[in-house]
Protein backbone atom coordinates (compact mmCIF):
# COMPACT_ATOMS: atom_id res chain seq x y z
CA UNK A 1 0.00 0.00 0.00
CA UNK A 2 2.61 2.55 -1.05
CA UNK A 3 1.14 5.86 -2.01
CA UNK A 4 2.32 7.52 -5.26
CA UNK A 5 4.15 10.28 -3.31
CA UNK A 6 6.34 7.70 -1.62
CA UNK A 7 7.19 5.73 -4.72
CA UNK A 8 8.25 8.92 -6.52
CA UNK A 9 11.04 9.40 -3.97
CA UNK A 10 14.36 9.65 -5.94
CA UNK A 11 16.15 7.30 -3.52
CA UNK A 12 13.48 4.69 -4.08
CA UNK A 13 12.91 4.56 -0.34
CA UNK A 14 9.57 4.91 1.28
CA UNK A 15 11.09 6.81 4.19
CA UNK A 16 13.12 9.38 2.28
CA UNK A 17 15.23 11.62 4.53
CA UNK A 18 14.85 9.57 7.67
CA UNK A 19 16.15 6.53 5.85
CA UNK A 20 19.25 8.36 4.57
CA UNK A 21 20.13 9.30 8.14
CA UNK A 22 20.46 5.60 8.91
CA UNK A 23 23.25 4.10 6.82
CA UNK A 24 22.41 0.56 7.89
CA UNK A 25 18.72 1.13 7.21
CA UNK A 26 18.46 -1.53 4.57
CA UNK A 27 19.83 -4.22 6.86
CA UNK A 28 17.57 -3.05 9.67
CA UNK A 29 14.68 -3.43 7.28
CA UNK A 30 15.70 -6.87 6.21
CA UNK A 31 15.77 -8.58 9.56
CA UNK A 32 12.22 -7.68 10.69
CA UNK A 33 10.89 -8.99 7.41
CA UNK A 34 12.73 -12.29 7.89
CA UNK A 35 11.49 -12.43 11.45
CA UNK A 36 7.94 -11.79 10.21
CA UNK A 37 8.21 -14.57 7.66
CA UNK A 38 9.45 -16.92 10.38
CA UNK A 39 6.62 -15.79 12.65
CA UNK A 40 4.03 -16.36 9.91
CA UNK A 41 5.41 -19.83 9.24
CA UNK A 42 5.28 -20.81 12.90
CA UNK A 43 1.79 -19.27 13.20
CA UNK A 44 0.50 -21.49 10.42
CA UNK A 45 2.43 -24.38 11.92
CA UNK A 46 0.68 -23.99 15.26
CA UNK A 47 -2.74 -23.50 13.62
CA UNK A 48 -2.16 -26.56 11.44
CA UNK A 49 -1.00 -28.74 14.33
CA UNK A 50 -3.84 -27.85 16.68
CA UNK A 51 -6.58 -27.97 14.02
CA UNK A 52 -5.01 -30.92 12.22
CA UNK A 53 -4.90 -33.09 15.33
CA UNK A 54 -8.69 -32.99 15.56
CA UNK A 55 -9.16 -33.63 11.84
CA UNK A 56 -6.66 -36.52 12.16
CA UNK A 57 -8.64 -37.98 15.06
CA UNK A 58 -11.82 -38.05 12.96
CA UNK A 59 -10.04 -39.56 9.95
CA UNK A 60 -8.26 -42.17 12.08
CA UNK A 61 -11.53 -43.24 13.74
CA UNK A 62 -13.16 -43.73 10.35
CA UNK A 63 -10.11 -45.53 8.98
CA UNK A 64 -10.04 -47.84 12.02
CA UNK A 65 -13.74 -48.66 11.48
CA UNK A 66 -13.09 -49.32 7.82
CA UNK A 67 -10.09 -51.56 8.61
CA UNK A 68 -12.07 -53.55 11.14
CA UNK A 69 -14.83 -54.40 8.72
CA UNK A 70 -15.05 -55.71 5.16
CA UNK A 71 -17.66 -55.08 2.45
CA UNK A 72 -18.89 -58.62 3.17
CA UNK A 73 -19.64 -57.68 6.76
CA UNK A 74 -21.67 -54.70 5.61
CA UNK A 75 -23.56 -56.71 2.99
CA UNK A 76 -24.24 -59.51 5.45
CA UNK A 77 -25.42 -57.06 8.06
CA UNK A 78 -27.78 -55.32 5.62
CA UNK A 79 -29.10 -58.68 4.45
CA UNK A 80 -30.39 -59.40 7.94
CA UNK A 81 -34.09 -58.49 7.79
CA UNK A 82 -33.97 -56.68 11.17
CA UNK A 83 -31.08 -54.48 10.10
CA UNK A 84 -32.67 -53.83 6.69
CA UNK A 85 -35.82 -52.75 8.52
CA UNK A 86 -33.80 -50.53 10.88
CA UNK A 87 -32.10 -48.95 7.86
CA UNK A 88 -35.42 -48.08 6.19
CA UNK A 89 -36.96 -46.84 9.43
CA UNK A 90 -33.89 -44.67 10.07
CA UNK A 91 -34.09 -43.00 6.65
CA UNK A 92 -37.84 -42.39 6.96
CA UNK A 93 -37.88 -41.26 10.61
CA UNK A 94 -34.88 -38.94 10.20
CA UNK A 95 -36.45 -37.34 7.12
CA UNK A 96 -39.84 -36.86 8.79
CA UNK A 97 -38.21 -35.47 11.94
CA UNK A 98 -35.96 -33.11 9.92
CA UNK A 99 -38.91 -31.77 7.90
CA UNK A 100 -40.97 -31.30 11.08
CA UNK A 101 -38.01 -29.54 12.73
CA UNK A 102 -37.70 -27.13 9.80
CA UNK A 103 -41.46 -26.59 9.77
CA UNK A 104 -41.39 -25.57 13.45
CA UNK A 105 -37.90 -24.05 13.53
CA UNK A 106 -38.52 -21.53 10.75
CA UNK A 107 -41.44 -19.62 12.34
CA UNK A 108 -40.02 -19.93 15.86
CA UNK A 109 -36.58 -18.73 14.73
CA UNK A 110 -38.27 -15.81 12.95
CA UNK A 111 -40.27 -14.81 16.02
CA UNK A 112 -37.19 -14.95 18.27
CA UNK A 113 -35.14 -12.97 15.77
CA UNK A 114 -37.64 -10.24 14.92
CA UNK A 115 -39.91 -9.58 17.88
CA UNK A 116 -39.36 -8.36 21.42
CA UNK A 117 -42.18 -9.56 23.68
CA UNK A 118 -42.61 -10.22 27.38
CA UNK A 119 -41.18 -13.61 28.29
CA UNK A 120 -39.05 -13.77 25.16
CA UNK A 121 -35.95 -14.71 27.15
CA UNK A 122 -37.87 -17.56 28.78
CA UNK A 123 -38.82 -18.97 25.38
CA UNK A 124 -35.25 -18.44 24.21
CA UNK A 125 -33.89 -20.42 27.19
CA UNK A 126 -36.54 -23.17 26.97
CA UNK A 127 -35.67 -23.81 23.33
CA UNK A 128 -32.10 -24.61 24.39
CA UNK A 129 -33.11 -27.12 27.05
CA UNK A 130 -33.26 -30.17 24.72
CA UNK A 131 -29.68 -29.33 23.67
CA UNK A 132 -28.26 -29.36 27.20
CA UNK A 133 -30.50 -32.01 28.75
CA UNK A 134 -28.94 -35.49 29.06
CA UNK A 135 -30.59 -37.57 26.28
CA UNK A 136 -31.85 -40.26 28.67
CA UNK A 137 -33.56 -37.62 30.79
CA UNK A 138 -35.27 -36.25 27.69
CA UNK A 139 -36.58 -39.71 26.81
CA UNK A 140 -37.76 -40.25 30.36
CA UNK A 141 -39.52 -36.86 30.33
CA UNK A 142 -41.36 -37.80 27.12
CA UNK A 143 -42.38 -41.13 28.65
CA UNK A 144 -43.69 -39.42 31.79
CA UNK A 145 -45.53 -36.76 29.76
CA UNK A 146 -47.43 -39.42 27.83
CA UNK A 147 -48.22 -41.54 30.86
CA UNK A 148 -48.94 -38.97 33.57
CA UNK A 149 -52.42 -39.46 34.99
CA UNK A 150 -54.53 -36.31 35.27
CA UNK A 151 -57.58 -37.59 37.14
CA UNK A 152 -58.64 -40.53 35.02
CA UNK A 153 -57.18 -39.04 31.83
CA UNK A 154 -53.87 -39.98 30.26
CA UNK A 155 -52.42 -38.55 27.04
CA UNK A 156 -51.28 -41.94 25.73
CA UNK A 157 -54.67 -43.56 26.43
CA UNK A 158 -56.52 -40.69 24.80
CA UNK A 159 -54.33 -40.83 21.67
CA UNK A 160 -54.65 -44.62 21.45
CA UNK A 161 -58.34 -45.04 22.29
CA UNK A 162 -59.90 -41.87 20.91
CA UNK A 163 -57.68 -41.10 17.91
CA UNK A 164 -56.43 -44.64 17.26
CA UNK A 165 -52.86 -43.34 17.26
CA UNK A 166 -50.68 -45.06 19.87
CA UNK A 167 -47.32 -43.38 20.38
CA UNK A 168 -45.20 -44.94 23.14
CA UNK A 169 -43.06 -47.89 21.97
CA UNK A 170 -44.28 -47.27 18.41
CA UNK A 171 -42.77 -45.54 15.37
CA UNK A 172 -44.29 -42.12 16.25
CA UNK A 173 -42.29 -42.29 19.49
CA UNK A 174 -39.07 -42.71 17.47
CA UNK A 175 -39.89 -39.64 15.39
CA UNK A 176 -41.00 -37.58 18.40
CA UNK A 177 -37.81 -38.47 20.31
CA UNK A 178 -35.67 -37.45 17.32
CA UNK A 179 -37.73 -34.33 16.67
CA UNK A 180 -37.58 -33.04 20.25
CA UNK A 181 -33.79 -32.70 20.06
CA UNK A 182 -33.35 -31.95 16.35
CA UNK A 183 -35.88 -29.12 16.42
CA UNK A 184 -33.82 -27.18 18.98
CA UNK A 185 -30.94 -27.12 16.49
CA UNK A 186 -33.25 -26.09 13.66
CA UNK A 187 -34.60 -23.19 15.74
CA UNK A 188 -31.07 -22.00 16.54
CA UNK A 189 -29.99 -22.22 12.91
CA UNK A 190 -33.06 -20.39 11.63
CA UNK A 191 -32.77 -17.72 14.28
CA UNK A 192 -29.18 -16.95 13.29
CA UNK A 193 -30.26 -16.99 9.64
CA UNK A 194 -32.98 -14.38 10.22
CA UNK A 195 -30.64 -12.33 12.44
CA UNK A 196 -28.38 -11.96 9.42
CA UNK A 197 -31.20 -10.85 7.10
CA UNK A 198 -31.82 -7.11 7.09
CA UNK A 199 -35.24 -6.56 8.77
CA UNK A 200 -35.49 -3.20 6.98
CA UNK A 201 -36.40 -4.96 3.75
CA UNK A 202 -39.48 -6.36 5.48
CA UNK A 203 -40.26 -2.89 6.89
CA UNK A 204 -40.09 -1.39 3.41
CA UNK A 205 -42.29 -4.19 2.09
CA UNK A 206 -44.90 -3.21 4.67
CA UNK A 207 -44.85 0.41 3.50
CA UNK A 208 -45.37 -0.97 -0.02
CA UNK A 209 -48.63 -2.61 1.05
CA UNK A 210 -47.60 -5.98 2.54
CA UNK A 211 -49.07 -7.50 5.65
CA UNK A 212 -46.55 -8.93 8.10
CA UNK A 213 -47.26 -12.41 6.75
CA UNK A 214 -46.66 -11.29 3.16
CA UNK A 215 -43.40 -9.56 4.18
CA UNK A 216 -42.29 -12.80 5.86
CA UNK A 217 -43.31 -15.10 3.02
CA UNK A 218 -42.23 -12.95 0.08
CA UNK A 219 -39.21 -11.06 1.40
CA UNK A 220 -37.64 -12.83 4.41
CA UNK A 221 -38.27 -16.49 3.56
CA UNK A 222 -36.74 -16.46 0.05
CA UNK A 223 -33.58 -14.97 1.56
CA UNK A 224 -33.49 -17.66 4.25
CA UNK A 225 -33.18 -20.51 1.74
CA UNK A 226 -29.59 -21.42 2.55
CA UNK A 227 -30.27 -21.31 6.28
CA UNK A 228 -33.22 -23.64 5.75
CA UNK A 229 -30.98 -26.14 3.96
CA UNK A 230 -28.51 -25.91 6.85
CA UNK A 231 -31.31 -26.39 9.41
CA UNK A 232 -32.60 -29.42 7.49
CA UNK A 233 -29.10 -30.93 7.35
CA UNK A 234 -28.37 -30.43 11.02
CA UNK A 235 -31.75 -31.77 12.14
CA UNK A 236 -31.34 -34.82 9.91
CA UNK A 237 -27.88 -35.49 11.31
CA UNK A 238 -29.05 -35.01 14.92
CA UNK A 239 -31.95 -37.39 14.31
CA UNK A 240 -29.58 -40.00 12.90
CA UNK A 241 -27.41 -39.84 16.02
CA UNK A 242 -30.33 -39.90 18.46
CA UNK A 243 -30.24 -42.94 20.73
CA UNK A 244 -30.97 -42.37 24.43
CA UNK A 245 -34.49 -40.89 24.13
CA UNK A 246 -35.44 -43.50 21.52
CA UNK A 247 -34.32 -46.32 23.80
CA UNK A 248 -36.40 -45.00 26.71
CA UNK A 249 -39.47 -43.69 24.87
CA UNK A 250 -39.72 -46.01 21.86
CA UNK A 251 -37.88 -49.06 23.13
CA UNK A 252 -35.53 -51.23 21.07
CA UNK A 253 -37.96 -53.73 19.66
CA UNK A 254 -36.63 -55.47 16.57
CA UNK A 255 -38.73 -55.01 13.41
CA UNK A 256 -40.73 -52.29 15.12
CA UNK A 257 -38.84 -49.36 16.69
CA UNK A 258 -35.27 -50.35 15.90
CA UNK A 259 -33.26 -47.65 14.14
CA UNK A 260 -29.59 -47.96 13.17
CA UNK A 261 -28.29 -46.34 16.36
CA UNK A 262 -30.31 -48.91 18.33
CA UNK A 263 -28.93 -51.68 16.09
CA UNK A 264 -25.35 -50.74 17.00
CA UNK A 265 -26.30 -50.95 20.67
CA UNK A 266 -28.19 -54.25 20.29
CA UNK A 267 -25.43 -55.90 18.26
CA UNK A 268 -22.79 -54.69 20.74
CA UNK A 269 -24.81 -55.96 23.69
CA UNK A 270 -24.82 -59.49 22.23
CA UNK A 271 -21.10 -59.27 21.45
CA UNK A 272 -21.50 -59.09 17.66
CA UNK A 273 -18.79 -56.48 17.12
CA UNK A 274 -18.52 -57.06 13.32
CA UNK A 275 -22.17 -56.25 12.75
CA UNK A 276 -22.00 -53.23 15.10
CA UNK A 277 -19.04 -51.79 13.22
CA UNK A 278 -20.60 -52.58 9.84
CA UNK A 279 -23.80 -50.77 10.80
CA UNK A 280 -21.74 -47.86 12.17
CA UNK A 281 -20.04 -47.52 8.80
CA UNK A 282 -23.41 -47.62 7.06
CA UNK A 283 -24.47 -44.73 9.32
CA UNK A 284 -21.30 -42.81 8.43
CA UNK A 285 -22.01 -43.27 4.73
CA UNK A 286 -25.63 -42.27 5.16
CA UNK A 287 -24.60 -39.11 7.01
CA UNK A 288 -22.00 -38.23 4.38
CA UNK A 289 -24.50 -38.75 1.54
CA UNK A 290 -27.10 -36.52 3.20
CA UNK A 291 -24.48 -33.85 3.97
CA UNK A 292 -23.17 -33.86 0.39
CA UNK A 293 -26.61 -33.86 -1.25
CA UNK A 294 -27.95 -31.03 0.92
CA UNK A 295 -24.76 -29.02 0.57
CA UNK A 296 -24.88 -29.40 -3.22
CA UNK A 297 -28.52 -28.30 -3.12
CA UNK A 298 -27.49 -25.25 -1.06
CA UNK A 299 -24.71 -24.37 -3.52
CA UNK A 300 -27.01 -24.81 -6.49
CA UNK A 301 -29.52 -22.34 -5.15
CA UNK A 302 -26.98 -19.60 -4.50
CA UNK A 303 -28.27 -16.85 -6.76
Amino acid sequence: MTSPEFSRDPEGSAFGVADRALPSGSRLNESPSRRRRWSDASFFGVLGTIGGSYVALIVLMLVADACYTTPDHIINALKKPEIGYAFRLTVVSCSVSAILSLWVGTPLGYVLSRYRFPGRWIVDTLVDIPVVLPPLVLGLSLLILFHLKIGAWRLEDWLRDTLGFPVTYQIPAVILAQFSVACAFAVRTMRVTFDEINPRAEDVARTLGCSRAQAFLQIALPQAWRGMIAALTISWARSLGEFGPILVFAGATRMRTEVLSTTVFLELSVGNLEAAVAVSLVMVQLAVIVLVVLRALGMGTRA
Binding site: N198, A201, V204, T207, C210, Q214, I219
Partner: protein, 219 residues
Protein backbone atom coordinates in the same frame (compact mmCIF):
# COMPACT_ATOMS: atom_id res chain seq x y z
CA UNK B 1 -50.97 17.12 2.50
CA UNK B 2 -48.79 15.81 5.29
CA UNK B 3 -48.85 17.20 8.79
CA UNK B 4 -47.46 16.39 12.21
CA UNK B 5 -49.42 17.75 15.11
CA UNK B 6 -47.58 17.93 18.43
CA UNK B 7 -45.95 14.54 17.89
CA UNK B 8 -43.97 13.00 20.72
CA UNK B 9 -41.54 10.13 20.13
CA UNK B 10 -39.61 8.18 22.72
CA UNK B 11 -36.20 7.03 21.45
CA UNK B 12 -34.29 5.06 24.05
CA UNK B 13 -33.03 7.55 26.59
CA UNK B 14 -34.15 10.76 24.91
CA UNK B 15 -37.35 11.94 23.31
CA UNK B 16 -38.64 14.26 20.64
CA UNK B 17 -41.65 16.19 21.77
CA UNK B 18 -44.02 18.78 20.41
CA UNK B 19 -42.98 18.16 16.81
CA UNK B 20 -45.33 19.95 14.40
CA UNK B 21 -44.94 20.48 10.69
CA UNK B 22 -47.18 20.96 7.70
CA UNK B 23 -46.15 20.34 4.12
CA UNK B 24 -48.58 21.24 1.33
CA UNK B 25 -49.25 19.04 -1.69
CA UNK B 26 -46.44 18.80 -4.26
CA UNK B 27 -43.95 20.64 -2.05
CA UNK B 28 -40.41 19.39 -1.55
CA UNK B 29 -39.60 19.67 2.14
CA UNK B 30 -36.11 19.04 3.49
CA UNK B 31 -35.59 18.15 7.13
CA UNK B 32 -32.07 18.82 8.36
CA UNK B 33 -30.40 17.76 11.56
CA UNK B 34 -27.27 16.23 12.96
CA UNK B 35 -26.64 12.50 12.97
CA UNK B 36 -28.47 10.87 15.86
CA UNK B 37 -30.95 13.71 16.41
CA UNK B 38 -33.96 11.53 15.58
CA UNK B 39 -34.57 12.41 11.92
CA UNK B 40 -34.76 8.78 10.84
CA UNK B 41 -37.09 7.89 13.72
CA UNK B 42 -39.39 10.75 12.77
CA UNK B 43 -39.54 9.46 9.20
CA UNK B 44 -40.26 5.93 10.48
CA UNK B 45 -43.08 7.33 12.62
CA UNK B 46 -44.59 9.07 9.59
CA UNK B 47 -44.64 5.90 7.50
CA UNK B 48 -45.92 3.82 10.42
CA UNK B 49 -42.90 1.72 11.33
CA UNK B 50 -42.52 3.37 14.75
CA UNK B 51 -45.20 4.16 17.31
CA UNK B 52 -45.67 7.74 18.47
CA UNK B 53 -46.30 8.19 22.16
CA UNK B 54 -48.38 11.32 21.70
CA UNK B 55 -49.79 13.57 18.98
CA UNK B 56 -51.25 13.02 15.52
CA UNK B 57 -49.94 12.32 12.04
CA UNK B 58 -52.16 13.52 9.22
CA UNK B 59 -52.03 12.62 5.57
CA UNK B 60 -54.49 14.23 3.13
CA UNK B 61 -56.39 15.56 6.19
CA UNK B 62 -56.92 12.05 7.54
CA UNK B 63 -55.57 11.02 10.92
CA UNK B 64 -53.27 8.09 10.08
CA UNK B 65 -51.51 7.96 13.48
CA UNK B 66 -52.63 4.43 14.25
CA UNK B 67 -52.81 3.10 10.71
CA UNK B 68 -50.78 0.15 9.51
CA UNK B 69 -47.81 1.11 7.27
CA UNK B 70 -49.47 -0.80 4.43
CA UNK B 71 -52.54 1.47 4.55
CA UNK B 72 -50.74 4.81 4.65
CA UNK B 73 -49.77 4.86 0.95
CA UNK B 74 -46.40 6.48 1.53
CA UNK B 75 -43.32 5.71 -0.54
CA UNK B 76 -40.36 5.16 1.75
CA UNK B 77 -36.67 4.96 0.84
CA UNK B 78 -34.55 4.12 3.92
CA UNK B 79 -30.93 5.16 4.14
CA UNK B 80 -29.60 1.66 3.49
CA UNK B 81 -32.21 1.29 0.68
CA UNK B 82 -33.07 -2.25 1.90
CA UNK B 83 -33.48 -3.58 -1.64
CA UNK B 84 -34.76 -7.14 -1.91
CA UNK B 85 -31.78 -9.46 -2.59
CA UNK B 86 -33.87 -12.18 -4.23
CA UNK B 87 -35.65 -9.80 -6.62
CA UNK B 88 -34.69 -8.47 -10.05
CA UNK B 89 -35.00 -4.75 -10.74
CA UNK B 90 -38.24 -5.44 -12.62
CA UNK B 91 -39.67 -7.31 -9.62
CA UNK B 92 -38.80 -4.36 -7.38
CA UNK B 93 -40.80 -2.01 -9.57
CA UNK B 94 -43.70 -4.43 -9.87
CA UNK B 95 -43.86 -5.55 -6.22
CA UNK B 96 -46.23 -2.95 -4.72
CA UNK B 97 -48.67 -3.35 -7.63
CA UNK B 98 -48.46 -7.14 -7.46
CA UNK B 99 -49.34 -6.97 -3.74
CA UNK B 100 -52.33 -4.80 -4.73
CA UNK B 101 -53.34 -7.50 -7.22
CA UNK B 102 -53.11 -5.14 -10.18
CA UNK B 103 -53.64 -6.58 -13.66
CA UNK B 104 -50.52 -7.88 -15.41
CA UNK B 105 -50.83 -5.39 -18.26
CA UNK B 106 -51.10 -2.49 -15.84
CA UNK B 107 -47.99 -3.69 -13.96
CA UNK B 108 -46.09 -4.06 -17.24
CA UNK B 109 -46.96 -0.52 -18.29
CA UNK B 110 -46.05 0.93 -14.93
CA UNK B 111 -42.69 -0.88 -14.84
CA UNK B 112 -41.98 0.44 -18.34
CA UNK B 113 -42.97 3.97 -17.35
CA UNK B 114 -40.94 3.97 -14.10
CA UNK B 115 -37.85 2.47 -15.71
CA UNK B 116 -37.90 5.17 -18.41
CA UNK B 117 -38.46 7.94 -15.89
CA UNK B 118 -35.52 6.69 -13.80
CA UNK B 119 -33.28 5.64 -16.67
CA UNK B 120 -32.95 2.03 -15.55
CA UNK B 121 -34.60 0.36 -18.57
CA UNK B 122 -31.47 -1.65 -19.38
CA UNK B 123 -31.20 -3.03 -15.84
CA UNK B 124 -34.68 -4.53 -15.53
CA UNK B 125 -33.65 -8.18 -15.62
CA UNK B 126 -30.63 -7.84 -13.36
CA UNK B 127 -30.57 -8.61 -9.64
CA UNK B 128 -29.39 -5.88 -7.31
CA UNK B 129 -25.92 -7.37 -7.01
CA UNK B 130 -23.42 -5.48 -9.10
CA UNK B 131 -25.57 -2.36 -9.46
CA UNK B 132 -23.75 0.92 -8.75
CA UNK B 133 -24.77 3.16 -5.85
CA UNK B 134 -26.68 5.50 -8.17
CA UNK B 135 -28.46 2.62 -9.90
CA UNK B 136 -29.48 1.11 -6.56
CA UNK B 137 -30.81 4.47 -5.46
CA UNK B 138 -32.91 4.69 -8.62
CA UNK B 139 -34.31 1.19 -8.07
CA UNK B 140 -35.28 2.11 -4.49
CA UNK B 141 -36.93 5.31 -5.73
CA UNK B 142 -38.78 3.41 -8.43
CA UNK B 143 -39.99 0.83 -5.93
CA UNK B 144 -41.25 3.58 -3.60
CA UNK B 145 -43.03 5.51 -6.38
CA UNK B 146 -44.41 2.53 -8.30
CA UNK B 147 -47.84 2.57 -6.61
CA UNK B 148 -48.46 6.34 -7.14
CA UNK B 149 -48.11 7.32 -3.48
CA UNK B 150 -49.07 10.92 -2.71
CA UNK B 151 -46.14 11.16 -0.27
CA UNK B 152 -42.48 10.21 -0.67
CA UNK B 153 -40.18 9.89 2.34
CA UNK B 154 -36.44 9.89 1.66
CA UNK B 155 -33.87 9.13 4.37
CA UNK B 156 -30.43 10.54 3.45
CA UNK B 157 -30.88 9.38 -0.14
CA UNK B 158 -27.68 10.92 -1.47
CA UNK B 159 -25.23 10.34 1.37
CA UNK B 160 -23.58 7.26 -0.11
CA UNK B 161 -23.15 8.63 -3.63
CA UNK B 162 -20.08 10.15 -5.31
CA UNK B 163 -20.15 13.79 -6.37
CA UNK B 164 -21.00 13.24 -10.04
CA UNK B 165 -23.82 10.79 -9.27
CA UNK B 166 -25.14 13.18 -6.66
CA UNK B 167 -25.40 15.97 -9.23
CA UNK B 168 -27.42 13.63 -11.48
CA UNK B 169 -29.66 12.69 -8.58
CA UNK B 170 -30.47 16.35 -7.76
CA UNK B 171 -31.83 16.72 -11.26
CA UNK B 172 -33.64 13.39 -11.09
CA UNK B 173 -35.32 14.11 -7.73
CA UNK B 174 -36.50 17.53 -8.90
CA UNK B 175 -37.73 16.05 -12.16
CA UNK B 176 -39.58 13.25 -10.33
CA UNK B 177 -41.33 15.76 -8.13
CA UNK B 178 -42.42 17.89 -11.09
CA UNK B 179 -43.52 14.88 -13.18
CA UNK B 180 -45.35 12.99 -10.43
CA UNK B 181 -46.45 15.84 -8.16
CA UNK B 182 -45.47 13.75 -5.15
CA UNK B 183 -45.15 15.54 -1.82
CA UNK B 184 -41.63 14.84 -0.65
CA UNK B 185 -40.03 14.86 2.79
CA UNK B 186 -36.27 14.49 2.42
CA UNK B 187 -34.11 13.97 5.50
CA UNK B 188 -30.44 14.95 5.30
CA UNK B 189 -27.57 16.56 7.16
CA UNK B 190 -26.22 18.25 4.02
CA UNK B 191 -26.78 21.97 3.47
CA UNK B 192 -26.00 21.52 -0.20
CA UNK B 193 -28.94 19.12 -0.64
CA UNK B 194 -31.25 21.50 1.18
CA UNK B 195 -30.12 24.42 -0.98
CA UNK B 196 -30.50 22.47 -4.22
CA UNK B 197 -33.81 20.77 -3.55
CA UNK B 198 -35.91 22.35 -0.82
CA UNK B 199 -39.11 24.34 -1.25
CA UNK B 200 -39.41 24.26 2.53
CA UNK B 201 -36.61 23.73 5.02
CA UNK B 202 -37.02 22.37 8.54
CA UNK B 203 -34.28 21.94 11.12
CA UNK B 204 -34.39 19.41 13.95
CA UNK B 205 -32.14 20.58 16.76
CA UNK B 206 -32.03 19.70 20.47
CA UNK B 207 -35.28 17.76 20.16
CA UNK B 208 -37.14 20.71 18.59
CA UNK B 209 -38.30 21.26 15.04
CA UNK B 210 -38.41 24.69 13.43
CA UNK B 211 -38.74 26.01 9.92
CA UNK B 212 -35.93 28.18 8.57
CA UNK B 213 -35.22 30.18 5.45
CA UNK B 214 -33.43 28.56 2.57
CA UNK B 215 -30.12 30.36 2.04
CA UNK B 216 -29.22 30.43 -1.64
CA UNK B 217 -25.62 30.86 -2.74
CA UNK B 218 -24.80 34.45 -3.71
CA UNK B 219 -28.15 35.64 -2.38
Amino acid sequence: MIALDNVCLRLGDFQLSGISLDVAAAQYAVLMGRTGCGKTSLLEAICGLRKVSHGRILCRDEDVTHWDPADRQMGYVPQDLALFPTFTVREHLAFALRIRRAKAALIRNRVEEMSQLLGIGSLLDRTIFGLSGGERQRVALGRALSFHPPVLLLDEPLSALDEATRQDMYALLKNLQVRTGVTTLHVTHSREEARRLADRLFVLENGELRETEIVQDGA
